[in-house]
């Protein structure tokens, strides 16, 4: 690159970069998720798919953002050796498997999604814990639910949770976000408390209402990453932060890598804001149509099977580049009028072996 071009680019970057990458801060803070250190114990969660919420006085508490986790525990010579590991948002029936010198026994918990193990660690050693459901690597079909755009509908979210709980086939819930109305910490804490009534884990990315106050540490400290990529039963799931009506280039790089690694799997992509509004005049979508088409082209090239979005408080079924796409914003946030849709969630049966899916809209009266 020539000198004059570098100068001009630098000027633009200095003056404007903070304005045109509104999700950059969230993408940067995501890199810090998944590791912590206290009193001689280093915890490192593979892929940053969990966030350490508490680590003190023999108590280690981790919120899971994916069904399966590999956690590396490294101790030094003076570290505490006895820890109670509490896993929140775990798959019911998750087991623990240990590579290394550590030993563990399970302690009963009061919630299906809460697992507690007492760990005995050897000083100066490294152990790797696998925590996940016993059928996580099987190629069999399974069912998930999708629920987004709850916002002020939090006041009667429990009837949706009860409906989800009544279907034992549903393994976990995916959400494209807008769990809160204004993005205040108190709202997210309230949502966390409501989640205790849900019998299965909740994996989510953030929506524009979740990031409203502009402090990414609120989400980061409670839920961890804003963008999450994981696999389950030979199916791939990309939950990508588009709360700023755009996806940050950092997350595009992560998405590119994940698409490359999982091109032979069933792949579900979920993000809050639809790249292109099916009713384009309204433009309840990305701020840039060009970026929207860039994303869809990537997903088509990565052989994604299904796209799910929220943000628009109704239900639409359509396709982008031949890929099955759905907008579902039925969590109870200010519903769209004149559409006869109302509150709802989706159930999706996924067959990883055939890369097929079957989607159903469940309406809540």
């Amino acid at each position: 690159m020539k000198f004059h071009k570098i100068c001009i680019e630098l000027i633009f970057l200095l003056v404007f970069s903070s304005c045109i990458r509104n999700s950059q801060e969230r993408a940067e803070i995501d890199k810090e998720t998944g590791s912590d250190y206290f009193n001689g114990l280093l915890v490192s969660i593979e892929g940053g798919l969990g966030t350490v919420r508490k680590m003190e006085n023999g108590e280690l508490e981790i919120w899971f953002q994916a069904p399966e986790q590999y956690i590396t525990l490294t101790t030094d010579e003076i570290s505490d050796s006895e820890w109670n590991l509490t896993v929140l948002n775990a798959m019911p029936g998750s087991i623990i498997s240990i590579t290394g010198d550590a030993t563990a026994y399970e302690i009963a918990s009061d919630l299906p999604t809460k697992k507690i193990w007492h760990l005995s660690l050897q000083p100066g050693s490294t152990s790797v814990l696998y925590i996940g459901p016993i059928d996580a690597v099987e190629n069999s079909s399974f069912r998930i639910a999708v629920l987004s755009d709850i916002q002020e509908g939090i006041i009667n979210i429990q009837d949706i949770f009860e409906t989800i709980n009544s279907d034992p086939e549903i393994r976990f819930v995916l959400s494209s976000g807008d769990l809160m109305d204004m993005g205040e910490k108190s709202e997210l804490v309230r949502f966390q408390n409501e989640l205790k009534k849900l019998n299965i884990p909740w994996y989510t990315t953030c929506g524009n209402h979740d990031t409203g106050v502009g402090d990414p540490s609120i989400w980061h400290n409670i839920f961890g990453k804003h963008s999450v990529f994981f696999t389950f039963k030979n199916a791939a799931f990309s939950l990508v932060d588009s709360a700023s009506a755009s996806i940050d280039p950092i997350n595009y790089t992560l998405l590119d890598n994940f698409l490359d690694e999982n091109s032979d799997k069933f792949h579900l992509f979920i993000t809050h804001i639809p790249p292109v509004d099916p009713w384009g005049i309204r433009n309840g979508s990305f701020g840039s149509r060009k970026e929207a088409y860039k994303l869809i082209a990537k997903l088509a090239g990565g052989l994604v099977n299904l796209m799910i979005f929220g943000h628009i408080h109704t239900y639409y079924s359509f396709s982008y580049a031949g890929i099955d796409a759905h907008i579902s914003g039925g969590g109870g946030g200010w519903p769209m009028k004149f559409d006869n849709i109302g509150r709802h969630f989706l159930t999706i049966d996924i067959e990883p072996s055939t890369e097929k899916h079957f989607l159903n809209v469940v309406r809540i009266p």
């Binding site: 009506a245 384009g280 005049i281 433009n283 149509r289 970026e291 869809i296 082209a297 088509a300 009028k337």
Partner: protein, 362 residues
């Protein structure tokens, strides 16, 4: 069509302007010869912004132009009323498509009128009227442009473009070809457009007034070779320019543009060439501008463009409303003589576009 009604309404204002036997020009002379102190001028400039952003006319009031103050106040109130009347159905229905197709253009038109009146108050307050022209009178049939364009968009690798255009005028029709090419990225765009002037004079005619109402149809093709897709856009819009001395004498030397339309986009993805997606797009643009120079040499224009498919795209305003609005910008041109001029543009949305170039009119 709503806009057309607004345009015609304000275009008709001069007919109602003759009060006590005085034309707008006569009254403007009275205004500009009115002995306005520097202090009042400064206070007027401040008042046109605060509280002028909400209530217009304060600037004119401070300089003693009560008629202008009233007109701008009513224009602002009308804009606010239109904005609210469009916004409330959107809010109530939570953006149902059954109301959006009417409510959104109405809300944006109100937003435009609401914004323009503030800028007009500021301009009219500070305008001495001594050197401002009211139009570029030089007729021309062909306009050629060669520009260098820089786009800073974190989502794309392109940066510098060669941007050329040529526009021909035949009777009431203006047709143009615009081409963009990024040498390093091979991103390329071609746009063909034709405008028919329904009201007002064509560029090739001698003009005392640049006010016009026109209808435009356009087709564009945009190829993104690295991102593996291309778009074709078919669009139609209706809009125009009004020289604002029609509205009030103190605004002589300023103009406003507003246009409204819709587009249909067809997207073709290289990975799935048989699948083509179609999407609609609301087109809306408004601006406030001033003529530059004592000899009608150029103009400077601040604008809002609702296009989300253009280089700058929507506005990354931060908070919950990212991407809802379009982009803002400033552009201008200046002619050194009847033939040769320069132009510049800067616009900011989720990307930044800068254009610098030369213009030849013949």
């Amino acid at each position: 069509m709503f806009y057309v009604a607004v345009f015609i309404l304000f275009s008709g204002l001069p007919k109602t302007e003759i009060i006590n036997g005085k034309t707008p020009e006569t009254r403007q002379k009275e205004v500009i010869t009115h002995n306005v102190s520097t202090g009042n001028l400064i206070l007027g400039g401040v008042a046109s912004i605060i509280p002028g952003i909400i209530i217009s006319g304060g600037g004119h009031y401070m300089t003693g132009d009560n008629t202008g103050a009233k007109k701008l106040f009513y224009a602002k109130a009308t804009g606010l009323g239109i904005l609210i009347s469009g916004f409330l159905p959107i809010l109530f229905s939570n953006a149902s498509e059954k109301v959006m197709f009417v409510a959104y253009p109405v809300a944006l038109t109100g937003f435009g009128l609401f914004s323009i009146s503030t800028l007009a108050d500021l301009f009219g307050t500070l305008n001495t009227g001594a050197k401002n022209s009211f139009s570029n009178k030089t007729p021309y049939t062909i306009q050629l442009e060669q520009n260098i364009m820089h786009v800073h968009d974190p989502q794309f690798n392109y940066d510098f473009f060669s941007y050329s255009s040529v526009f021909f005028n035949f009777r009431k029709t203006v047709s143009g070809i615009e081409g963009y090419y990024a040498p390093e990225d091979s991103n390329k765009k071609l746009k063909l457009s034709t405008s028919y002037i329904l009201l007002g004079k064509a560029p090739s005619e001698f003009r005392n007034d640049n006010s016009k109402l026109e209808i435009t149809v356009a087709w564009s093709w945009h190829k993104f070779p690295n991102e593996l897709f291309s778009t074709q856009t078919y669009e139609i819009s209706c809009g125009g320019r009004m020289e604002l001395h029609h509205f009030h004498g103190s605004l002589k030397g300023s103009f406003s543009e507003i246009s409204l339309g819709a587009a249909l986009e067809r997207v073709k993805y290289d990975f799935t060439p048989t699948d083509k997606d179609y999407s609609s797009l609301l087109l809306f643009r408004f601006s406030f501008g001033i003529y530059l120079g004592s000899n009608k040499n150029g103009e400077l224009e601040i604008f809002y463009n609702h296009r989300h498919d253009d280089w700058a795209a929507g506005l990354g305003a931060g908070g919950m409303g990212d991407g809802v609005l379009g982009h803002f910008g400033i552009q201008g041109h200046y002619f050194f003589n009847k033939l040769l001029g320069v132009r510049a543009l800067f616009e900011a949305g989720m990307a930044y576009r800068t254009v610098l170039g030369m213009v030849i009119r013949y």
